[in-house]
Symmetry: C2
Subunit: 333 residues, 2 copies
């Protein structure tokens, strides 16, 4: 049986170009004892992927040149020599950008398509949702009545952050690119307001939407938006640094010029990596599943079609901000 896959061929400078990738089709080996063959159904398309392509020390080891590009995914077990997994099981794991993955299943998490649609397990009930949950609650520490601002508000993590903050009784203001996304964030996700950063006067609009200032800022974007929010924070504010999508493809990184607002306001800026909370994933997933069932949490996702070959262009769409909710790549050709 043949397996089409994408390898990391070259490290990118700035925005990844076609030369970064190598598409190839290889014959699948026979399964060894304890191994499982998984047919990939959905891949999770994440801003973090850009970081994995870089050389150097980070919170996770880089993808090596010539290695299958790392990707989380959901698939179906189609052959098994491991008694823990049966044909027909659905599992979530780091399957990689390929049609089939062979694994001993040590990092597999079983998921049930009869309870939630499969992409939900990559989004709200997967790493994106867990990042939102722990980042907001443990590091942002929002209190009832406080104002929470979140950038990338229509994205996989931001959309969950804002909804959880609403559940916790906060005033929630999103920042997103374009009026359509803003309408979605307010009308479908229930945020109190959402500011289009592409429109004029981000500062003025944000200030009006946060009449009591900003107590928690959950940042997915960095750059000018982070700098703008820094001018509006309250005393003892908490800024959660979850990502900086504006910077990932930049060859000239910018720091937050207004970081001394941390000093004036005795405020805190703290980075998070979801893996640190692995021991508590189960509790968080159970809580979020309950909120989804109660209609309090919208497990939104954005499906792109096209399978392995479409991966480079779909990753580009993510960085262009074309998704609303979790972006997943469906593996049907």
């Amino acid at each position: 049986m043949q397996n089409t896959r994408i390898l990391l061929n070259q490290r990118p400078v700035g925005t990844p170009s076609d030369e970064c990738w190598k598409l190839e089709t290889v014959e699948l080996p026979e399964l060894n004892e304890n191994e499982v063959l998984v047919k990939t159904e959905y891949l999770s398309i994440d801003p973090a992927m850009r970081g994995w392509m870089n050389e150097g020390k980070s919170y996770i080891k880089p993808v090596e040149l010539g290695e299958v590009m790392r990707a989380l995914g959901i698939g179906e077990v189609i052959a098994s020599k491991n008694e823990k997994y049966n044909v027909g099981d659905h599992v979530s794991s780091a399957l990689g950008v390929q049609q089939y993955a062979i694994s001993e299943g040590k990092d597999f998490v079983k998921v049930d398509p009869n309870i939630f649609p499969l992409p939900a397990y990559l989004g709200t009930l997967g790493m994106s949702g867990l990042t939102a949950y722990f980042g907001l609650l443990d590091t942002g520490m929002p209190q009832e009545g406080e104002t929470v601002v979140v950038s990338g508000a229509a994205g996989a993590v931001g959309s969950v952050v804002g909804q959880i903050a609403k559940i916790k009784g906060c005033r929630v203001v999103g920042i997103a690119g374009g009026q359509d996304k803003c309408d979605y964030v307010v009308n479908e996700l229930g945020f109190d307001a959402c500011i289009d950063y592409k429109a004029a006067s981000l500062w003025k609009n944000l200030k009006e939407a946060c009449p009591a200032g900003v107590d928690v800022y959950f940042d997915n974007v960095g750059g000018e938006i982070l700098d703008t929010v820094l001018t509006l924070i309250n005393k003892k504010a908490r800024i959660v640094i979850c990502g900086a999508i504006s910077q990932y493809n930049s060859t000239q990184r910018e720091g937050p010029k207004n970081y001394l607002s941390l000093l004036v306001n005795r405020a805190r800026m703290e980075g998070i990596v979801v893996f640190d909370n692995a021991a508590n994933y189960g509790v968080a997933v159970a809580q979020m599943a309950k909120w989804i069932k109660e209609g309090k949490l919208n497990a939104n996702f954005h499906i792109e079609e096209g399978g392995v070959k479409a991966f480079p262009s779909v990753l580009g769409k993510l960085f262009a901000g074309e998704n609303t909710g979790k972006m997943v790549l469906k593996m049907t050709e």
Copy 2:
């Protein structure tokens, strides 16, 4: 009786020029009931003064144009219509850049020149020492065996931070400008190492001095030094933002380009303002006085002579980094 004083005459752009100041001599009014006349003996010369000269919201209201320039100081009561203060008492207070201050004494703290030299009450036992104490212990939270790096290591705050970190059993590495200061920091203050940021290869030297990485960074300077330390922090590091002397006179502020190291390392950057700890000043001063008496803490200071008229040039010397230890201005002409 006449009082020579310096008013804020113009707000600075960049480095304060002579036009910012107005020197004048006025007749002192008679004391009203409850008032005290204090003859200024020492003024505290602080980087924070530059911030007080700016318009706009900060952690303390700005000095108004035409107002006596704000300065902490120590003086002797030479006349009193307030039963709490007797002639001959020494007090610490926001006396301002002037020879004499008249006050009802509500913010006075009595000090005793027989226990410690008067400048020590402005430095290690004053706001500088308190800033070091609370910033390091409450926000930096150093644990025994951890590596603590402090910039401005020969300065009023940094010199105390490093010495307290040594008392707490940490490896302590200073950053200072020039070999003389570095020698002083190691030989007189007992730091494990001190790196001259004016010499080549700050990064390389700092990396060698911190073989186990950086757990706590107490930052008084900002700019490139902050950016360099950010590349060397450990997981869960704490960065205390106390000041940014490299930025105060800059018309083009720079943010820390490497702030995403906070994310990779799940680290925290937090601003501090000493006033928030006012309820606990007494405990901290008692502890530091004990350490001084035990010979564990060197209450170092740097005295400039010249009185009120010398204030603008002495402030310039502070920003040029000419002091070792707390800089005070002695009020004798």
